[in-house]
Symmetry: C2
Subunit: 240 residues, 2 copies
């Protein structure tokens, strides 16, 4: 019994539980990622509890979970605040992604079933089609992560998948939202994804890892260049 391909939409709406605590986690998480609660802003428990129509118990549990996702920082007896994504933190995040997703690509080349590889091709094809149909339009970044997600899942490593898809992914989403003014239009990602699939099809873990690492490292470089300028301009962030 194989699971149907899971899209990014399914991940997002992944309702881990129907408990108030779980629902509040989702609501609060989206509020933070979307910037409804600003970076650096304090999370006032009574106010938020009122806002989400729950008591402070579930709200505090939600905050704890967001701390685990690194969207929130917490100091005892002082409170929780939304993280501020400094350039330094983002670059750190991309170094971690490079390491983890690189390994994921290697494992995917070893472990992905032929069927999963076909699914991956389908995702890429959809992606390419969209780019052709909408030339000059910014990439659908979710489609991009769909691709990465399939590879991560294809690694067969549950710990790796949890770390990337459940935790770090939301940090990435938050960063993307904040920098959505830099709309990426490059089709370089498409080419690099194509190369990656080829390496996986060839069952070449080393090549797959190398390609994924370069892919992410390139995005990191683009981010550094784009954000270290005071006037950022519409630079291509590499869409990763």
């Amino acid at each position: 019994m194989t699971k149907p391909s899971e899209t990014i939409a399914e991940i997002k709406n992944q309702v881990d539980d129907k408990t108030l605590s779980g629902q509040t986690t989702l609501a609060l998480r989206e509020a933070i990622i979307k910037g409804d609660i600003a970076p650096g802003e304090k999370l006032n428990e009574p106010k938020l509890a009122e806002q989400f129509q729950v008591s402070r118990g579930p709200l505090r549990e939600a905050i704890r979970r967001l701390v685990a996702m690194r969207l929130v920082k917490h100091v005892p007896h002082v409170g929780a605040t939304v993280v501020t994504l400094e350039l330094k933190s983002i670059l750190e995040l991309y170094d971690v992604r490079e390491a983890l997703e690189g390994k994921a690509a290697a494992l995917a080349a070893e472990n992905m079933s032929q069927q999963d590889i076909e699914k991956l091709r389908a995702v890429l094809e959809l992606h390419r089609q969209h780019s052709e149909d909408n030339p000059g339009q910014y990439m659908q970044t979710d489609g991009d992560f769909d691709f990465h997600y399939q590879i991560i899942k294809g690694s067969g490593n549950q710990l790796l998948t949890d770390q990337l898809c459940d935790e770090l992914y939301h940090l990435i989403r938050m960063f993307r939202f904040q920098t959505s003014r830099f709309k990426s239009r490059s089709n370089r990602a498409l080419i690099e994804h194509e190369q990656l699939i080829y390496a996986i099809e060839q069952r070449d873990p080393q090549l797959a890892e190398m390609l994924m690492r370069k892919h992410i490292a390139r995005a990191k470089t683009a981010i550094k260049q784009a954000l270290s300028n005071t006037e950022p301009a519409y630079t291509d962030l590499g869409s990763v």
Copy 2:
């Protein structure tokens, strides 16, 4: 104002906060790692609250934090249970370590100060001395992780450090405790650590990363061999 070198002991006793919730987290964490609460065992909230002399509130927060550390699994409306470290999970953990600590070693080669490198040498020297003074005795595994810890910290990447030292490290500790009957006596780790320092001193990120990855991959292989046998015998687990 530079911080004094932090040993593994300091990490362990790192009292993040004096709150009941924080204290309970530490106590419960140690109870799980030491096996006082068995793998697979259910965490009964009223009983544990009674046992730790706190109400269920702080206890539940502690459980949430241990879920983030992956020491505990939680199902809504059912409860929390201590993780059972299957061979598969351990191998997954070591693949993640290989990726993350490999990158950490590369970054350490780039970023560690000359002074930090000297400290690292001192740790290794202490380690070597202990091995010479107690030939045939099992390695002080804490000393081993002291070495790894220094390198991780030396990477200068806070996210990486948090992931390895605050989260995954406790899983490793739990695994080590459970397999402490396999006392590692090899001095291969010592040799490999020596090579690693050399690479870092030479400011060679690629070599440092390669050496660290091989170091951990070798430990993974040793674990697989030791634990896939029904009668494990006293195999060298590589002490990583």
